[in-house]
Amino acid sequence: MKTTIQFGPQHPVWVEPLRLKLTMDGEIVKDCELEAGFCHRGLEKKFEWDYNKGAYLSERICGICTQHHSTCYCTAVEGTMGLEIPRRAAVIRTIMLELERLHSHLLAIGLTLESIGFENLFMLCFRNREIVLDMFERTTGNRVLHGINIVGGVIRNIGPEMAKELEDFCDIMEKRCLDLKDMILKSYTIRERMQGVGVMSEQLARDLCVVGPVARGSNVPYDIRAVAPYVLYNEIKVKPIVETSGDCWARSVVRVRELFQSIDIIRQCIPLLADAGEDIFAKSKTLPEKEYFTRVEAPRGELFYYAKGKKSKEMDRIKVRTSTYGNGPGFVPLIKGSHLADVGLITITFDPCIGCFDR
């Protein structure tokens, strides 16, 4: 007998609305239909706007990867004007990007663990996350929406004192992440629950062009920081972290290992602050007129902005392609044939961000 189950839009597993229409045969999912658009606000239309205000709007596409969104937007608009930002601004942006990856990955790991019922580690992840948020509050003035990126640079400087605090922060964070890593990787329960669930084969990952930890969990070493370096990644070489098995476990392990990579990059960036000049903002002399696109490796994967100016303050067209947009087609083949109890776990290891997906 076949039954249809509506999974979402209001579901305890996801914070955000998304609907999956599951056709069930007993406990096994036979067919799955994805319905999105519950978060669609119409931001691409709104972006035909003053380009300075656009930086604040792009931040509010997604609250988890704000810095990535605004960096990508600002780089795209700077490209249309042919503007180059000062070196110090680039260093500050890189530090912020990596800090954000830390807090996003901790959030994703925590939510994954919560969805399999491991409340303790979820709380521990959030406890560690608070340190990152404190660091954000000190450097940028807000916990989540940072608002320091503007077209042409950044608005808040990181002084020598703050740089020292960042170093201390790295030490504390590394210690805590090591604890967390031990607890997750050595846990028999977690491994047994997640291994072999929701396997995405390497061929499927290449066919569907999935991005970020989902692709890297399936042995596709696709990382924009290595493929097409942006702000400071020309100097700081990043080697993509790859796992081979392609299941929920592999995707989580990629995120755990990337925590240390991020801490390492922040450590490499701090000495660069000392001899980077004092300018953090370059004023543009021209208006946006050409077309340009940029890509940034957000915590969830590749983030793409296309900008086209029309020689006035207003932009002509901004297209946003977010990482969940790239991972969206990957839900359906994995859910087909799995158990109903695994649907929540599989989707949460994709780290879906519906605010990004629908814009």
Binding site: P9, Q10, H11, P12, V15, E16, P17, G37, F38, C39, H40, R41, G42, L43, K45, K46, Y56, L57, E59, R60, I61, C62, G63, I64, T66, L107, F122, M123, F126, R127, R129, E130, L133, N142, R143, V144, L145, C353, I354, G355, D358
Partner: protein, 155 residues
Amino acid sequence: MSLIELSRKKSPWVIHVGTGGCNGCDLEILACLTPRFDASRFGVMSTGNPKHADIMLVVGPVTLKYKEIITNLYNQMPDPKVVIAVGTCASTGGIYQGCYGHCGSLDKVVPVDVYIPGCNVRPEAVIDGLVLGLDILNEKERKILEEKKKSKGAA
């Protein structure tokens, strides 16, 4: 004070609804329930089921597709109920003013009792809002009890 009223005052259950803003305020509500700003100290518990909830925390401007769903959720909640608009978007629309995809602020769809301004809100502000929401919950409870008494007396 009846037992139900006491338990409601001591332990309000909240339902967290994200209607399509950025996730900033969603995260801060999660941060509220986790170790740093542990709202469970006041007995606040997050539930996924609107039928068990006393307080609805709504985040984000109400998108056109979500309008119907949020009225359903509101109607499923038992009386007395309190709706808290968390963040600028839910209160007035915020930066998404004039976008075609949403129908503006939350109070055009369901009645709102508490507005928490801030973009994004701080967890402290959410705790303040919950405390204010509890007062309103008690007021509403008392009103319902009085009406019941009156109707009993009339009968």
